[in-house]
Symmetry: C2
Subunit: 185 residues, 2 copies
């Protein structure tokens, strides 16, 4: 096929696995090259990542344990969107994970998290005019054990050391850098 | 628990779904806050993304259809690692998708693709000293219908327009920008 809207034909579809956070959809398909086959992928709620950016041009990062990779690492706050508007989801995630509230919110971009495996879209948010007056949730399973503001140079060093290795955080930082470049024009 | 190596207790584990490209592992767990629960996530091979960078400081991008999101979009070449060494996987993916071979290869970093949902690690590779003498595979289901070199300003504009919305491509571009900043010091 030359270039149709969708070069795959879906013959049937089923939910092959489901838990409260994700669903595996498996489609029986005819592939673009004309063969019978399957395509299985994850259906998940959209998510947000929040760049909490203070007047010293520092970014707030949190230390958290990530079950699938079984390691602690530093990343920007974020999580599942629960089908809220991205900014509402960002306000909730930021306050729950850090106790930070913010007066000024901007959307920096919406990106596919992993477009071969999931339909999840992640919105990167910029939060400014920050205040620590919110309620951090301490008794949660997604443990955030530490949090701190870091300069962009410190974040660069944490990537070099491996303390930050989260691709979604790097996508968010990439969109922050684009935004900063526009401010400086 | 204060800060052990892994604050989750795994009571049992099972493969809840499997296809040739991924596996859903579901663990019965005791959560960090002491509750019985489950954690399901995707086990997948590691992957690579390739920044093919020419002497004019342009990046090669390909247009491809992504089944889970059901859209065509532009991204840097890459794909599943098939458990090869990242540079070997990068050479194969780049040649298959673009026909490009490269004399000089560097690893720019290894990142978690989506550390709440999968254990997949993506390695970003920088390929230089490029040549179009390789064999592009045309009869494949991951259709690459077009490819071109773009300046970093053109890529920025494609993100603004939505032609590039792939987070893994942005992670790779973030690591390219870090590498470029080091060259200019």
């Amino acid at each position: 096929m030359s270039d149709p809207a969708n070069p795959w034909t879906i013959k049937s579809t089923r939910i092959a696995y489901e838990n409260p956070w994700m669903r595996v959809r498996e489609d029986s398909v005819i592939t673009p090259s004309g063969k019978d086959g399957i395509y299985g992928y994850i259906e998940a709620n959209n998510s947000v990542m929040v760049i909490a950016f203070n007047e010293k041009r520092e970014v707030y990062v949190v230390r958290t344990f990530r079950y699938p990779v079984k390691t602690w690492n530093w990343e920007v706050p974020g999580g599942g969107g629960d089908n809220q508007h991205p900014i509402e989801a960002g306000k909730r995630e930021l306050e729950e994970e850090t106790g930070i509230t913010a007066k000024t919110w901007d959307e920096l971009g919406a990106t596919s998290v992993c477009n071969g495996f999931t339909n999840e879209t992640m919105t990167t948010l910029l939060a400014r005019d920050l205040d620590f007056g919110g309620n951090k949730e301490d008794d949660v399973d997604e443990q955030v054990t530490d949090g701190k503001f870091c300069s962009l140079a410190e974040i660069d060093a944490m990537i070099t050391s491996g303390d930050i290795n989260d691709g979604q955080t790097m996508t968010a930082l990439y969109l922050l850098n684009r935004w900063l470049a526009r401010q400086e024009r």
